[in-house]
Amino acid sequence: MGPIMDLTIFGFLVQDGLTTGAVYILLAVSLVMVFTVTRIVLVPQGEFVAFATLTLAGLERGDAPGLAWLLVAAGVLAFVMDLSAARRRGSRRGIAAAAVLFLAVPAVLAAVALYGIGASTPLAAKIAVTCAMVVALGPILYRVAFQPMAAASPLYLLIAAIALHFVLVGAGLYLFGPEGVRTSPLLDGSTEVLSMPVSVQTLLILAASLGLNLALFAFFGFTLQGKALRATAVNRRGAELVGVSADYAGQLTFALAAAIGALSGVLIGPVTTIYYDSGFLLGLKGFVGAIIGGLAAYPAAAVGALLVGLLEAFSSFWASAYKEVIVFTLIVPVLLWRSLAHVAVEEDHD
């Protein structure tokens, strides 16, 4: 028999599950978004989260943020790639924009992060700098890793995503070291919901997750840019013909994914210890949620992610050693259910 469950513990587990579940929702939604627009299964989504937490923790400790160097180096590489592509094309169009996006923005952010942050800098500013650096990294990674092979089949893109994940995890170990970190709570204190004590941090995470989901919904539903991304998702070539550049769509999507990852990292930092390689499992759990939603539907992915969070919380109470086993084995019945519910679709490769 496992430990005894009572109402208080039940309440805590639900709270715990909802907190992590809310972060998984963000990751799941982001994965669905990236997949629908670019056909990339963004395995490195979790690295955005881990890098944000680790960078914020570093800024709090007063360490020089290693992410700044990665950002500048990757930015230079992205710019060089754009430059050589422009030379091959024989046209200088877009070089100025690339110089801003890949050189100037990273340089400014790195300078601020390295020299502009002191012990007295408010937490909000540190968070802002952290998020800005992670967001800037998004389009750079798309440019460097995926843009040269954007037309490849989803399976090759998936392998590339895994390869990028390897690079980032190795870089993360070098830049942040092997120690785990927690960041200081964004909000202290607790309140009562249904006569259960609930920490304000939990409420903040839930509210932020809900808010961000609504914002994404509005972005894709009502703005021109959001509609352009959806057009690319439906038909890449068709979208290009009407003037929506697939490169631009990819980079914008990666910026959004990085933003969601950075926010998730800021939110989860105070409640979970994050290591340089924590991103992988976080991302994959978002993934299990996304798969429950079939990698296509936003609300279903969110529900799935919440379920994963709750399942994880309860399995860590009853069988904590088997937590990962339970969460990742869940995918088998889920896939079975989905494969029975949906007729197999013919897929031609190459």
Binding site: M149, L158, L173, E324
Partner: protein
């Protein structure tokens, strides 16, 4: 000289001599490289040949390794008994996982493989019978007829033997009737179905074979290392195996060996070099592998092996096959007998009736043209007959059997053969192999006989039949070219040869002239007229009236899903309604 380097035998001799020149450390290392090559061999089958991706092969290696580790240490079983247990257990696990995930499109298997890769790692690491994350030690060395195979050199030869035998079996398998069907899967399940193969079953079979190879690798690993813990079976290793295959060249068996060799040696070198270079310890080599993978994916997606082949200029020897038809497998109906009856068939998509109460017949030994302007519903009708779509109402009978709910695979077995409007060939197979794919149902040897090369007599007959059909359509001289290198006109003709190789009662041609140049159209028309004179029954869907007039015995003209005319070509051509539909004149 290069001729001698062509076959695998010299390389096997080189491998067999390696322990004479290498120190014990490197002999052991090569043992691990060949174990990895067994796993990547499975990945070549899975990814390169069939188009499926798994990051979870390391978990299968783990099941194999832990099975023998547990049974030999706890129950003191002989390792030679645990080998079949390990393989069967792993294959069983793969069959279950495959049945669940392979029905879905490609990336679901890949994602699910990440999940089971993680899950099995944590499961093994937490189960007390398996020693947790500390693992199991004291695994006995192999013995054979009383000879102790302890030590790296003896194990090296054991591993090399298993690898050589596995490569031999996989090469045999790919060069067989089932192998051709497997190689066709990634070019669309519709192609495999059209020749009567079952792509879903074949996919599971390939997945199970890949898992069995991984289990064999795990068994060897356990008795090589004589100690197991969960780390080498985790998701990182699973990803690395895939990287090895992609870097080596995922579409070739030899790419698997090259990839395992290059990646393992590089990993060794980097593990020594990087920590001292960076002043930190940690597995930084993954950064190098990640970058290398991205470069390979962006610039040389085929991997190292094809690149090496190109450099050495190795070419295939011409095939020595002679054209020789197989005996017919079924009695042909009398000329004039109605073999296909379409009776008040209707197909609607939502509210739109693409085919509306259409009835007509096709008679044996005649060429029937189904004609109509674009959007007339011809392709829908073709898909209804060929079993790609089910009818909404009405009846289709083929040789007096009702077929309107049958799948294309079943129809192929009943003597219906088809071509595709968008040519579906296996570009990496030769013209001869593509034609032989059509004769799939005229052979019966399965995976095992193919792998052990017990299928040669039947294989020779199938290839002779394919050669005969190539001769018949005029492609015999091109038999050794890769189908992907043929111009479109010849690709279309190859599709017809493939269809003929099935000894069909009815040949369905879906817009065979579409996209062809004038000369190619003429060549195709001559071929079709020759087939008509041979008494082949053809149903030809076409929108090009000029092309079809000289070929068809009878024409059925469709317009907006309905039948507009039905009769001899000249009558139909003179029909005022048909002219209106075609010319749009008021």
């Amino acid at each position: 000289m290069t001729d001698r380097l062509r076959g695998p035998l010299p390389w096997l001799i080189v491998a067999a001599l390696l322990p004479l020149v290498l120190g014990p450390y490197h002999v052991a290392l090569f043992g691990y490289i060949f174990i990895a090559a067994l796993v990547t061999l499975g990945i070549v089958l899975l990814t390169g040949v069939t188009g499926l991706i798994s990051f979870g092969q390391a978990a299968f290696v783990g099941i194999g390794a832990y099975t023998t580790a547990y049974l030999t240490t706890t129950l003191a079983m002989s390792p030679w008994l645990t080998l079949p247990v390990a393989v069967v257990l792993t294959a069983g696990a793969a069959a279950v996982i495959g049945a669940v995930t392979l029905r879905m499109s490609g990336h679901f298997l890949a994602i699910a493989s990440l999940a089971w890769g993680i899950s099995i790692y944590f499961l093994v690491g937490n189960l007390p019978y398996f020693g947790g994350f500390n693992g199991l030690s004291g695994i006995p060395a192999l013995t054979l007829f009383g000879i102790d195979l302890r030590g790296e050199t003896a194990m090296y030869y054991v591993i090399l033997s298993f690898l050589a035998a596995s490569i031999w079996a996989v090469l045999n398998l790919l060069d067989s009737r089932v192998g051709r069907a497997i190689r066709s899967i990634r070019h669309g399940a519709a192609l495999a179905e059209s020749v009567g193969a079952d792509p879903a079953r074949l996919k599971i079979a390939v997945f199970v074979i890949a898992a069995a190879l991984a289990a064999l690798a795990g068994w060897l690993y356990a008795h090589h290392q004589r100690f197991v813990n969960p780390t080498p079976f985790g998701i990182h290793m699973g990803i690395e195996y895939l990287f090895m295959a992609v870097i080596g060249g995922v579409s070739s068996v030899w790419g698997a060996v090259i990839g395992a060799l290059v990646v393992t040696l590089m990993k060794q070198a980097l593990e020594d070099l990087l920590p001292s270079l960076l002043g930190q310890s940690g597995n930084f080599e993954i950064v190098v592998f990640g970058v290398l993978m991205l470069l390979v994916l962006q610039h040389a997606r085929q991997g190292l092996w094809p690149w090496l082949i190109e450099r050495t200029g190795v070419r295939r020897a011409p095939s020595r096959v002679a054209a020789d038809p197989m005996p017919a497998i079924r009695a042909k109906p009398e000329p004039g007998e109605a073999i296909l009856r379409i009776d008040r068939v209707r197909k609607s998509f939502g509210g739109l009736a693409a085919v509306d109460e259409l009835s007509f017949r096709a008679e044996a030994g005649r060429v029937l043209g189904l004609l109509g302007p674009n959007g007339a519903g011809k392709s829908t009708m073709f898909n209804l007959i060929s079993g790609v779509l089910p009818v909404s109402s009405g009846e289709i009978r083929f040789l007096d059997r009702r077929i309107d709910r049958e799948r294309s695979r079943v129809l192929a077995a009943q003597g219906m053969a088809r071509t595709f409007q968008h040519v579906k060939l296996v570009p990496s197979m030769t013209v001869l192999e593509n034609a032989a794919l059509g004769a799939h149902l005229r052979g019966r040897h399965g995976l095992l006989r193919a792998a052990l090369r017990l299928d040669r007599a039947e294989e020779a007959r199938l290839l002779a039949e394919a050669a005969y059909q190539l001769e018949r359509v005029g492609l015999f001289a091109q038999r050794d070219e890769l189908a992907g290198n043929l111009p479109l006109g010849q690709q279309r003709i190859l599709e017809i040869a493939r269809a003929l190789a099935s000894d069909p009662v009815l040949l369905l041609l879906d817009e065979p002239a579409a996209g062809l140049r004038y000369k190619e159209k003429q060549a195709l028309a001559r071929l079709l007229m020759r087939l008509r004179d041979d008494g082949v029954t053809v149903l030809l869907v076409e929108h090009d009236m000029d092309f079809i007039l000289g070929i068809a015995d009878r024409l059925v003209v469709m317009h907006y899903g309905r039948k507009l005319a039905d009769g001899a070509p000249r009558e139909v051509q003179a029909n005022a309604d048909v002219q209106l539909a075609y010319l749009g004149a008021d």
